[in-house]
Amino acid sequence: MRAVVKNRIGIFYPQGFIDGANARNFLAPADITATSTLKIDMLLVSLKKVIFFNKNGMDILVSLLGECKKSNSAISLGFCDYDDSKFRTMMKFFNDDYSVSLFRTAEVATLFGPTTSDNKEKNILVHSDDPSQRNAITIELHEHGYNPIATQSREEFSTKRQSEQTFYEVVNNTHLGLFGKKIGTRVVGNAIIYSTDGFLDAKMNDIFDMTYHRNSLSVGFTLFVFDMNKVIAMNVHGVNFFSHLASAGAEFGASIAIVGLSFEKTPKAFQEELEDGGILFFEKLEDLLDNQEIMDELGGNEGSIKHSKKSLTKVIVNELPNFISATVTTLEMMTNTKAIKESAAVQKITIDSNDEKLASSIGFYGDIDGMMILIFPRTIAKRACELLLGEVSDKTEELLDTLAEFVNIIAGRLKSLLAEKGTSIDITLPRTYEKIDGLIHSISEQKGVQVNLTFKGERFTFFLTR
């Protein structure tokens, strides 16, 4: 059984009965090996389709999940998708086991994973009978940019849940095990905000998610803000870490800002050293976020993505047939219709009309790097999503969510096609665009390979750039 991966959360979906005799068979060694190579932050087992489980079976699953931690110690492990009765049983099994987290649903787990969207308007209702859990959940959600509303009693929880106030998600029957070791990440506008606390020393290299950072650079984020209001002190290792980060981002035209750092226990000279390296300092987060001029200049506002100065390389052009093949065969598979190639040329992107179009993009890096952009007429997007959604949907949020999965499938296929030829790449989190004007504007000056395809008379555009 292979894990389904979405938003850097891997989930296994066993079905039926899990006990000591069969648990090991659900996660074979090959599955563990494959999972260990995935770039994920959380690895969960869904109990949605499990009707029976016992302690032996669960212990074996936890120990098998633990194997994946050997290659990535920052992965959080746990279970999701259960009802009240299963939660009570699981709490009996794992209440004292800090290596296991429990999430009522996979959607709840997603709240604690990395995000590329601005969550500040999303109200999350939180309840746990255990005050320490309630606090831990609330803090984690806040660190991820959500607006958590914690309730102190079950009565208050029931009342709030039934109230007219709409909640983006309700977090109850949830238990965080070892969590919060990573730096909290949230998105505001087009800026990524990292929240750090405690002492910033050599451990930064362990707790900072460099893959996520690189993903964000690759898909066009250029402003990275470190909220250091809760930082006690930074030493020279911390300074080195930020210097390296600033140098690595320079290639992408990225800026790093530090806000809220107190210099009571951190030498003021460190600020000067970091400023020399191009890092900006602000007293408060609002000083930066509310300053439209600076935000525009740094690329932190939505639609203000900086233009990349990179151009296509011969290696990428040589691999073009693989990119097109992966896209066409996946789209044909998902729509069950044949594609006709209309044209292919190296050019600046040209789209007939931006109306009624949706787009998704995904970055790749490794032996070659670049960005693949897919522009769908809404009709093709709906058809392509039908297989994954199971119904014809016209809800933009559903379509965009499914397009993100769709572009992931294409990138996954591409990754394996290139691997067969000895070219190794990693892929970023996908991004989707409800309106393509901003996207087109941001890449309008860049040359890339544009391939126009038609599916049942509708034009679909593939654009490969750097």
């Binding site: 059984m1 389904v4 074979a28 029976f52 069950n336």
Partner: protein, 266 residues
């Protein structure tokens, strides 16, 4: 990826039931076990299959049973027909499994496990009906159909399943408007099996509940038994467990009884 036309071609390619098998079943239906065993002996492959299957440990015979008359006598009318129906699937079982990590021996073990536990459930429900007893035999046809349709599309299926937890039955339904159980039912018709076998089979998919109370209950038991069997250590790592979506809500009201009859530890 898969079209309705491809499915029609696949169903067309299914061979008709051999004459000896059809005649043996007809004789069994008339209630003559001895005459049926003599008829079955005319087909050497069928004879070999019956001997091998019945002598599996799950059937519990302490000494090897070789004589077909003896085999039919021990099994009785219902069970004999059930095992003959198993043989239908033997005709279309792939030589090499590509999609699922199983062998034909594991597949036959799976058939045997289903048969024995199905009989326990029917006994508990006081149902003594040859057709109902035989209906379990066609359930694994859905596995064979799935293998035949998706074996050459393994990579595509894996890619889809790497981003979305979606079972193969659902993928097929969304692509072609027919699911694995529709195809299996068409095969049953081609083999001139009784209609109620197809009805129970459709209900056992867990997504097409029957309006008939008994068929609905049997469909629930069959759905649950299928997943209980697929959770067996021999099957759990084969990929069989996730080709169809388990429907816990569908079987919720029969679970306690099922667990007690089959002996699921609580």
């Amino acid at each position: 990826m898969v079209t309705a036309k491809e499915l029609a071609t696949y169903i067309e390619s299914i061979p008709p039931a051999p004459k000896v098998l059809q005649d043996t079943i007809a004789i069994l239906d008339s209630g003559d076990l001895v005459k049926a065993s003599l008829k079955a002996q005319e087909d050497k492959a069928l004879t070999h299959y019956l001997r091998t299957l019945v002598n599996r440990p799950i059937y519990g015979f302490t000494n090897e049973v070789k004589d077909l008359k003896q085999i039919f006598g021990i099994l009785g009318l219902s069970n004999a027909k059930q095992i003959l129906c198993n043989y239908f699937l033997h005709l279309i079982v792939p030589k090499k499994w590509e999609l699922f990590s199983i062998t034909n021996t594991i597949f036959e073990d799976l058939q045997a496990l289903l048969n024995v536990n199905w009989n326990l459930l029917l006994t508990n429900e006081n149902i003594d009906n040859k057709d109902v007893s035989s209906s379990i035999a066609l359930l694994p046809a859905s596995i064979i159909v799935c293998e035949a349709i998706f074996a050459s599309k393994k990579k595509e299926v894996e890619l889809i399943r790497s981003v979305k937890n979606i079972d193969l039955n659902t993928i097929l339904k969304r692509l072609s408007s027919m699911d694995l159980f529709d195809v299996a039912t068409q095969i049953a018709k081609k083999w001139e099996m009784p209609d109620n076998i197809g009805e129970i089979l459709q209900c056992a998919s867990g997504i097409k509940p029957s309006e008939d109370e008994q068929t609905l209950k049997l469909g629930k038991y069959m759905h649950l038994l299928f997943f209980y069997t697929l959770s067996n250590p021999k099957c759990a790592g084969t990929g069989l467990n996730d080709f169809l979506e388990f429907q816990p809500d569908f079987i919720a009201d029969v679970y306690e009884n099922f667990a007690s009859v089959i002996g699921v530890e609580q």
